[in-house]
């Protein structure tokens, strides 16, 4: 495995800078996680964090909204932004020599947004469009409903909110949210690519050290609703999404569950792909994946299939989930280890994936795992440890959401919690 240096520094105001120099590249990337996610939206104002994320980019420092975009384009930055449950994220990739100037622009976005009143309604329309787009994405709608049921509000909410909630948000509320939640303490700035650590540390210090820390707001606990839900929709396919308990990324046993899910859905020879698609031709898409929050997690399975074959598809998926508790084989584990190792190495070719990855590690673990360490954890997975885990934690008590013309038969879930 290749040599890897990871540097980190926490400034006095609580901002953490973490970086991986990748001197073999000509490019660099950054990933910012500011702790202003949609978990802080008041319930009736869901969509607020996302709206604020839109507004801080519509004028900051000396730049108006058009100058901001043009400045990024002049630097050749391929940029992104989005709100998520915990954080609002800003990221970008570019030629390495533009990194410092780019970070300077984002220091304005984070510390000196101007919130021009004239931009408010355009910004709101953009947020409306994001809500509309979800309505036409049936797979995403199904998965989003599943997350809402499995985690409950607040943890299972989506960041876009509803037309009603976004329509009701005022400029005052946007500014208040910004003042309460955009803060250096708890913020992570990750950089990867061709960079000099000492110079980066001092540059980021110059840009952000005047920013004062503020108290961390509290969030109410989530109340899951669990159960089985069908959404009626006249579609060609029925969309099936189900969830059961997983392990969060920070759990010492995370890789045992990750390994089991890899056997289920880690490649073209994985169990779900083989049994549902290859042998029976039931669908084009079927997968299982680990979804993690800070303190809880789910394994989420999805398939989309024509309506008259949906019942069989669900039955085969459930059969495979139940068969998993009987254990995995040495061959399956061997293939899985090669796959994980291979994807870790390939990640080293992209500063963008590394920046995202080290930011994610820091957020979930408070540190970055080196490649050696991850490798060690992967190598320490054995058939016995995974099978022991599966024996005590068999996939069961599924939450199910289906979307299509007709509901499906299902007897393997947690009885639905009456709402209201």
């Amino acid at each position: 495995m290749n040599h890897q240096d990871i540097f980190s520094h926490q400034y006095e105001n609580g901002l953490t800078l973490v970086a991986q120099p990748m001197p073999w590249l000509e490019s660099a990337a950054f990933s910012i996680a500011v702790p202003a996610g949609c978990r802080y939206d008041p319930a009736e104002k869901n969509g607020l964090a996302n709206f604020v994320c839109e507004m801080v980019q519509r004028g900051c420092g000396k730049l108006d909204s058009r100058q901001f975009i043009e400045a990024l384009e002049m630097l050749g930055v391929d940029y992104t932004s989005s709100a998520s449950l915990y954080n609002t994220n800003f990221g970008g990739a570019m030629c390495a020599d533009q990194l410092f100037d780019t970070l300077q622009i984002y220091s304005d976005v984070l510390q000196r947004p101007t919130f021009p009143q004239a931009q408010l309604e355009d910004g709101r329309l953009v947020c409306f469009q994001e809500i509309h787009a979800i309505e036409d994405d049936l797979a995403q709608r199904t998965m989003m409903q599943l997350r809402r049921n499995y985690y409950g509000d607040i943890d299972g909410r989506n960041c876009e909110g509803s037309m009603e909630s976004v329509a009701s948000i005022s400029m005052d509320e946007i500014q208040t949210f910004y003042q309460t939640h955009y803060r250096p303490n708890g913020m992570i700035l990750a950089c990867a690519g061709k960079l000099d650590w000492e110079k980066l540390k001092s540059h980021v210090g110059d840009l952000f050290s005047e920013w004062a820390s503020i108290p961390v707001p509290q969030v109410a606990a989530s109340k899951p609703t669990h159960g089985n839900q069908h959404i009626v929709h006249e579609s060609e396919q029925t969309h099936i999404a189900l969830a059961y308990r997983g392990l969060p990324y920070s759990d010492p046993n995370y890789y045992l569950n990750r390994g089991a899910v890899g056997v289920l859905s880690g490649g073209m020879s994985s169990r779900l792909f083989t049994e549902v698609r290859e042998k029976r031709g039931l669908c084009y898409t079927v997968f299982a994946t680990c979804h993690t929050l800070l303190d809880k997690a789910a394994v989420v399975c999805y398939s989309g299939t024509t309506n008259d074959r949906a019942q069989e598809t669900l039955d085969v998926i459930i059969e495979e989930l139940q068969r998993l508790s009987a254990g995995i084989t040495a061959d399956e584990l061997r293939r899985l280890k090669v796959q994980i190792r291979s994807s870790l190495v390939m990640q080293q070719e992209s500063c963008r994936s590394r920046a995202g990855s080290i930011a994610g590690d820091w957020f979930h673990l408070g540190r970055v795992q080196t490649l050696d360490e991850v490798n060690q954890r992967i190598n320490s997975m054995t058939v016995e440890t995974i099978n022991d885990y599966l024996k005590t934690n068999p996939p069961a008590n599924f939450d199910l959401v289906t979307l299509g013309p007709k509901p499906l038969e299902f007897n393997h879930g947690i009885p639905a919690t009456p709402v209201g």
């Binding site: 002049m74 050749g76 036409d136 994985s270 290859e278």
Partner: protein, 414 residues
């Protein structure tokens, strides 16, 4: 980075951008065949064949192919378009020979009846999946309307009817007409032992018989007009437009693709400021598609149904204005910065590099280095972009609208 190439006696070409500092190696078999090479009654056969290639050979069952790809920890896939079918895999360098042997073997598939019938169901599921996804067949529709009876108007996926009617025999006939070694290249990028690559490909593919596939490259007779497809349970209205564009033999295609970026890139473009920054649309974009002999410039707009008529008029005004007034030097400079940065980022990804090398061969059988491509874009002038605008008027186009708005055509043509 060192570029190397070799051709076997049977015409199979091997090309690689070898980078000893890369961590991985990527390989692809690029076949110059796609939906434009099909007859209407066997619509979808190229794409179905692409699936069947993973279903085994005289040496391997379908399950063995999947197992071996996973044993190597490969990131592998395949894709079919109007004029190409590409099979590719990225692996750690230690698996170079093994992955090349596997890819070579599956390029001569068995097409067993049982596998064929199971996979047919997967293909039909794939067709149904796209039927549920925006823009609900709008892309297939605009290609069919714009290209008319020209083979480029044929759908890549085919329809449930044409796919249901396919047989292994008919697919084998297609295979035997298209998969000549002279119609295929093996492209590689990353950490590659090129001499070994040539030896491996020679050993595995040297015995393939050469023949000469033909392709109808007649320039299409492009059509214009307005076609509405009402879909009541869609939330948004999806609008696609196609105007004539350069073919991939035409040098003006570079200027045209920059023109498309200036007008329709997903950030900072004219469409961006008109429709996205203002929230008048959910998405808006423009891209130039160049094919052998023909080309199209596609504009895409997706917005609330009640906003669609007004947006279409705004789009028309924008197109007319940019043709009359041309683009500015500042717009060109910004586009160049974006493209230069994009080229650097792309060149660092082994997989992206492999696709570039293979696609260049498909298009023009000529290699261009990263530096050469960067230079072509860097040298473009405002005059060249404005010439592309004059040559390919964007508003003389075919428009397809999909969504709940039933009155769009009346509103638009008034």
């Amino acid at each position: 980075m060192e570029y190397l190439q070799h051709q076997l006696d049977n015409g199979l070409t091997i090309l690689a951008d070898c980078n000893p500092r890369a961590y991985s190696s990527a390989f692809g078999f690029f076949v110059r065949t796609g939906s434009r090479d099909e007859t209407p009654e066997s619509g979808g056969v190229s794409h179905f064949l692409e699936h069947m290639v993973f279903k085994g050979t005289p040496n391997r069952t379908a399950a063995q192919v999947n197992l071996e790809l996973d044993e190597m920890g490969s990131a592998s896939n395949a894709r079919t378009s109007e004029e190409s079918t590409i099979y590719h895999a990225a692996v750690l360098p230690e698996f170079q020979t093994q992955v090349v042997e596997l890819l070579s073997d599956i390029m001569r598939p068995s097409l067993r009846v049982e596998d064929f019938e199971t996979e047919k169901r997967v293909i039909i599921e794939e067709i149904k999946m796209y039927d549920d996804q925006p823009p609900y067949g709008g892309y297939e529709k605009i290609m069919a309307e714009f290209f008319g009876n020209h083979p480029l108007g044929q759908s890549v996926l085919g329809t449930v009817d044409t796919v249901s009617g396919l047989t292994p025999d008919r697919m084998m006939t297609y295979f035997e007409e298209r998969y000549s070694p002279s119609n295929i290249c093996v492209a590689g990028a990353g950490k590659i032992d090129f001499d070994r690559l040539v030896d491996d490909v020679q050993r595995c593919c040297g015995h393939w018989n050469k023949f000469s596939p033909v392709r109808d490259k007649t320039r299409a007779e492009y059509r214009s007009g307005f076609v509405s497809s009402v879909k009541p349970n869609s939330h948004l209205q999806y609008i696609l437009q196609m105007a004539p564009g350069p073919a991939n033999e035409d040098d003006i295609r570079y200027a045209t693709s920059v023109m498309a970026a200036i007008i329709g890139d997903d950030s900072g473009s004219r469409l961006y400021w008109e429709f996205l920054d203002t929230g008048l649309a959910e998405s808006a974009g423009m891209a130039s598609y160049d094919y052998q002999g023909s080309g199209a410039i596609m504009t895409y707009l997706c917005c609330a149904p009640q906003q669609a008529a007004e947006n279409l008029l705004k789009l028309q005004t924008l197109q007319r204005k940019v043709r009359e007034e041309g683009i500015t030097q500042k717009e060109l400079d910004l586009a160049k910065r974006k493209i230069a940065s994009h080229i650097v980022l792309g060149s660092e990804r082994t997989n992206t590099r492999m696709f570039t090398v293979g696609s260049q061969w498909l298009a023009e059988q000529k290699y261009k280095s990263v530096a050469e491509i960067a230079e072509i874009y860097e040298n473009l002038t405002v005059d060249q972009i404005n010439e592309a605008l004059r040559k390919f008027p964007l508003d003389q186009c075919m428009t397809v609208a999909v969504g709940p708005n039933e009155n769009l055509e009346t509103a638009f043509t008034q």
